[in-house]
């Protein structure tokens, strides 16, 4: 029998500590949507997405009602479009992005990911077309997210892609300058991108994934912070144990929702992504959670150690709770989407270099970072290269989602609204890396990639 204390604890997690299911993401394979013309292919894509995901939102709401659990987003991820559009002969893939956008809107979801290409070892002609289409595609759609995997531990780093994406990010910023470069908030550059990630903007359905699958992303930094408030001053072993227990409970909610969604939709359950994903709401911040470890502010010395421990303990608790854990799984540190990060960055305590160090031990990378609009494409490529190196050489996922806001500089801030939040423009080391970036070519895979 469940006791009253457990019931009340659960109620408080949802009502006061912002525990929620962040997203139910349906992955849909588009392999059967290749066609010899873009129009025909787009029609197949639209029909298939609507056929598979037509009931996604309705089912999400039913489950939410049954358990009185908030399910914030219902989303869709698809096979990287560069693979699907290749046969169509199109010279610009914006039409595919618009099709995804229309399908997302008609299904009632709020994001669709997969305007993507996997180019860690080199470009296909289609990958190039897709990448060149990104600025216009993101400017002319509302819900489409784009991601490019430019590096992996097995393949090394495609520095041609790193160079080109610096330019593409600048162009995307320019193409969406009326909305403060919002397009860049929907564009992620990855190393070791997971193929089953349910979180945006980096979600796509990888080539090894099934026909259709349900992946669920959970959240709950507030729950972990609250749990830590109960062990103030105690040693770090106790802290680790406390985080594990909280992560276990959070993950079990995700597992329950995922299994129920999978059953109701008649689609297999893929993975739970047990990430601590912050929102700009007070009490839902990873930065504040790190501060609960005993730091004056996020970004103080000790932040990386605290984050490393947090990330690890979340995984340990979560893997006990679900047999199928995947995606990014860990702690997210998106600056604009986290009230504590915004405060730390605005006060100057949290700088890009510290964030870079933090990305060595958490599940993502330099995420939702706004930088001055005059930051050069080469410097952006340099930031990407460094972050990709961290992922490639440390055998983990890293990502860059950077927003050079046209016409804005350090001291300004930019308001994206909703979950994307508010980003203070952060100062960037502007020393040139142009000659390095223009070399191009590939950085070979690290020696420890050879495991066979």
């Amino acid at each position: 029998m469940i006791n009253d204390y457990e019931i009340i604890e659960t109620m408080k997690m949802f009502s006061q500590q912002h525990l929620d299911i962040r997203t139910i993401t349906m992955g849909i394979s588009l392999y059967d949507c290749c066609a010899s013309t873009p129009e025909e292919s787009c029609q197949k894509i639209y029909d298939k997405i609507c056929r598979c995901a037509g009931r996604l939102v309705e089912v999400g709401e039913e489950i939410s009602r049954k358990y009185n659990v908030p399910i914030i987003h219902k989303r869709i991820s698809v096979t990287p479009i560069s693979m699907i559009a290749a046969a169509s002969g199109a010279s610009d893939y914006t039409i595919f992005a618009k099709t995804l956008d229309r399908a997302a809107k008609d299904c009632g979801v709020n994001f669709i990911g997969g305007f993507s290409a996997l180019v860690q070892k080199g470009y296909t002609a289609s990958d190039k077309t897709l990448i060149n289409s990104i600025p216009q595609a993101l400017a002319e759609t509302d819900f489409v997210c784009s991601s490019i995997n430019v590096a992996s531990t097995r393949s090394g780093i495609n520095m041609d892609a790193v160079r080109d994406l610096g330019v593409i990010i600048k162009k995307t910023a320019e193409a969406t300058k009326d909305s403060d470069a919002l397009g860049c908030a929907k564009l992620v550059v990855f190393a070791n991108a997971p193929e089953d990630n349910p979180f945006m903007a980096g979600a796509f359905l990888g080539p090894g994934e099934p026909e259709c699958v349900i992946n669920v992303g959970i959240s709950g930094p507030g729950v972990v912070k609250h749990a830590l408030e109960g062990v103030k001053g105690q040693d770090l072993g106790v802290v680790a144990e406390t985080i594990k227990k909280a992560a276990f409970k959070i993950t079990r909610v995700g597992e329950l929702v995922a299994r129920e969604a999978s059953e109701r939709l008649g689609v297999p359950f893929g993975i739970i992504d047990l990430s601590l994903a912050p929102t700009p709401a007070v009490g839902d911040s990873v930065a504040r959670l790190l501060e609960e470890f005993g730091l004056e502010t996020c970004g103080a010395w000790g932040t990386t150690a605290a984050l490393a421990m947090l990330n690890d303990a979340v995984k340990k608790g979560g893997t006990m709770a679900s047999s199928f854990v995947g995606g990014l799984s860990g702690a997210f540190i998106p600056v604009s989407e986290d009230e504590g990060m915004i405060a730390a960055a605005s006060s100057g305590c949290l700088r890009l270099e510290k964030l870079e160090a933090m990305t060595c031990v958490c599940s993502v990378g330099l995420d939702m970072i706004a930088v001055p609009g005059d930051t050069t494409a080469e410097v952006i490529s340099g930031i990407i290269a460094d972050e990709m190196a961290l992922g490639t050489f440390n055998n983990k996922t890293t990502a860059v989602r950077i927003i050079p806001v046209p016409g804005k500089g350090v001291g300004d801030s930019v308001e994206f609204g909703g979950l994307l939040g508010t980003a203070p423009i952060m100062p960037v080391n502007t020393a040139s890396c142009a000659d390095f970036i223009h070399r191009g070519g590939r950085i070979p895979a690290p020696i420890h990639s050879m495991r066979n």
């Binding site: 019931i7 009340i8 009185n68 659990v69 329950l256």
Partner: protein, 94 residues
């Protein structure tokens, strides 16, 4: 445990006052829902009442029971929620 049974937890949080149990029991009776267990306690200075109820064939998400309980809660100045027991079993039992 209760996983296969169609049971739910009704929780009342707020200030104790006359008529809470009567109001909820009446409402539940209207849906032919039986109360299996009821307990009340003060946790962290908040009056808390927990009921385990047998839903029989009722499907929470297809019924207006959540809305009706919420409206009753608003009337009584307390927070009333109904949640399928599966949630608590998932979170608190290995």
């Amino acid at each position: 445990m209760d996983k296969e049974k169609n049971t739910a937890v009704v929780t009342v949080l707020g200030r104790d006052r006359v008529g809470i149990i009567a109001g909820i029991s009446n409402l539940l009776a209207g849906y032919d829902i039986n109360i299996n267990d009821i307990s009340q306690t003060i946790l962290d200075d908040i009056f808390t009442m927990v009921m385990i109820v047998d839903l029989k064939d009722l499907v929470i998400e297809k019924s207006d029971i959540s809305d009706k309980l919420k409206a009753l809660g608003d009337e009584l100045g307390v927070q009333i929620t109904i949640q399928h027991t599966g949630l608590f079993n998932a979170m608190h039992r290995i």
